[in-house]
Symmetry: C2
Subunit: 197 residues, 2 copies
Amino acid sequence: MKIEFWYEFASTYSYPAAMRVEAAAREAGVTLRWRPFLLGPIFGAQGWNDSPFNIYPAKGKYMWRDMARICEAAGLALKAPVRFPQNGLKAARLALLGQDAAWGPEFTRRVYLANFSEQKDISDEGVLADILSSLSLDAAALIAQSNAPENKERLKAQTEEAVARGIFGAPSFLAGDELFWGNDRLEAALQWARTHP
Amino acid sequence: MKIEFWYEFASTYSYPAAMRVEAAAREAGVTLRWRPFLLGPIFGAQGWNDSPFNIYPAKGKYMWRDMARICEAAGLALKAPVRFPQNGLKAARLALLGQDAAWGPEFTRRVYLANFSEQKDISDEGVLADILSSLSLDAAALIAQSNAPENKERLKAQTEEAVARGIFGAPSFLAGDELFWGNDRLEAALQWARTHP
């Protein structure tokens, strides 16, 4: 029984999802795999050059209010990011390096906290280096590795895999080929994984 | 303690919401008001001349799968409508007549069943007349009344009220000025109404 958690660092609803997915999966007895990807190319292919929450103001206004309620209920701080959406490309390249490493989940959570509760610029390599260092990792080596051509290509391939598997937004959960979209579908995804092993 | 249920007959997720909202509100001890409106003018103002589920195929494919899971879990039949989206204008004009009448909720549920489980054309006045007759109502009189200029204007005004109050999709729930969007937010809306009387 396993699920994949597909996330994009600019995505608002991916923040509460990232903060709770590990504990929820553990409690459900479901193995979790973290899968960072990029929404930018997916939105671009749909003709959007910005977040739909900016393109459609009523939807954006609602989203921030909904996020405030969700974060308050979850005990998570939420502060307006330094910009929205932030550019999560460099953070995603690092998260991909950590995807199957012990440090990946905590790195991911700290990037989300930097974006949505600490008003830090997550496109800034210095900010990312601080997060890596806070985890006792070799920041300079990992950043160099994340910017290597093969890792850049790997993130492109991962985003292409997302599209091929039907993903169009974040967060998304996959239980096998069964797709669930949105923080509010985590429980349904875990339930599906448990009943369709 | 009360909530308003804002719905559009073409909206897929409004179908399971309409089928459960009355029982859920009763159980929560919350008074319910049914508010039909039209999404067409709202989508049109955003530059969409079709359902976003048709404009964005990956999102549409997911929605139908998600709806199948939700309806199966709720014990609701779901069959591909005769077209999607259907034109719910005439049904909405009738639902508006019944908005504060005893027959309104059951009329609304039967129109959703006609659309999403019985493969009937809900833009057809004959289909709507059959539903009214099945409720022992005077179909011809109500249809004439629904097409009167003042009722058409009333539906326009109701849709304008939806926009003014931040609504951008369906189903939506309002607890006072607090907006909740989506069938999956019904419980949160009821909880809000109970804790913010």
